[in-house]
């Protein structure tokens, strides 16, 4: 499944790009992120608690930054296993471009998500909506953090 969305930010592209590479910003943006540590320049280890309705599962995994094209964008991908719940992975291609006025930045993204194991077996009706919701939350958190 693919999900596309975009935001207009009243900030210079360089600021947005820096934030996209800052683990503090990322940690506060990833929904349910409890831990995010850089283990190499483009790799972070992560722990995320995901709650969907009555389900509540802790995913442990990695976040990778790739296709880096400063300051125009990158791909951020994450994958984690949630024990008995199965595994989830997702990636977002993030595009930054200057707004026509030259001051602001347009952030747009394309998200892909996959789930494995029990979550796929039992929650197929919710996969798409949840992925969309989490992506939206990530970027709206990110935008909110930036405007602080």
């Amino acid at each position: 499944m693919e999900i596309k969305e975009s935001y207009d930010l009243p900030l210079p592209i360089e600021t947005v790009w820096q934030a996209l590479n800052d683990e503090g910003f990322l940690k506060n943006s990833i929904p349910g992120c409890e831990k995010l540590e850089r283990i190499s320049p483009n790799e972070l280890s992560a722990e995320v608690k995901l709650k969907i309705g009555p389900m509540s599962t802790r995913f442990k995994g990695k976040v990778n930054l790739s296709d880096l094209n400063p300051p125009n964008g990158y791909t951020i991908s994450g994958s984690g296993t949630g024990g008995i719940a199965g595994a989830a992975s997702g990636s977002a291609k993030v595009f930054l471009s200057k707004m026509e006025d030259g001051e602001g930045t347009i952030l747009s993204y394309q998200v892909k998500a996959e789930v494995k194991g029990k979550i796929a077996q039992l929650g197929s009706r919710l996969i798409h909506s949840t992925a969309k919701k989490l992506a939206k939350k990530f970027f709206s958190n990110f935008v909110q953090e930036l405007s602080k």
Partner: protein
Amino acid sequence: MYSTKIVKAENSSAAVQAIGSSKEGKILAGGMTLIPTLKQRLANPDCLIDISSCGLEGVEDKGSSVRIGAMTKHAAVAESSSVAKAIPALADLAGGIGDRQVRNRGTLGGSVANNDPAACYPSAVMALDGTVHTNKRDISADDFFKGMFETALEEDEVIESVSFKKPEKACYMKFPNPASRYAMVGVFVAKFSDGVRVAVTGAGEEGVFRHSDLESALSSNFSEEAVSGVEVSSDGLMSDIHASADYRANLIGEMTKRAVSS
């Protein structure tokens, strides 16, 4: 399931207290969603707070509204003569949830608090301009539902009852998912003297929602033709292996027509 402890609360404030003193406690109402989740080991609460002895059952006719206790079972709502008299559509809805076993265990408060995007009750709360009464405050339906499985409820809040305004006329039409019999699309249409409210469940990616185009069309002309004049968009509707967003959009129009003409 993982082992956990059960605390039986005597009243809602005791329940809230128990939640506060637990790490990841969960309120257990009818358990129709929570228990299967626990059995699948998809949640591991350290404590379940059983609120079945909190005195939250019963139906009360308040004149312009009907107030129903949070722990009232679907079967009790379906069979209640006061509900049948005041808002027959609500009794019909309750009688069509799940199967007999679910109706004998499942509760109004549990369904509303869980806010499953395919549950029936949220559409009634929304269309009947309901109010959710908690131990702390009253929350209007329009403020209560915050998206799929999300509500305005805070950690220390328990639903005690829900009020439904009496409409002039109302009808709930459900197109059940053939497998789960949850709503693939459920439309609750309620006609009040000051306008029509249309709430849709089962279809929106963000859970239950009011359909403003249908509402305004029906408010000016309460007829099937008015519904036909509305193009129901598939934007923001769920797509899954059972039904695409397009098909759900079609069903919203069709179920609304049937609700209006019934």
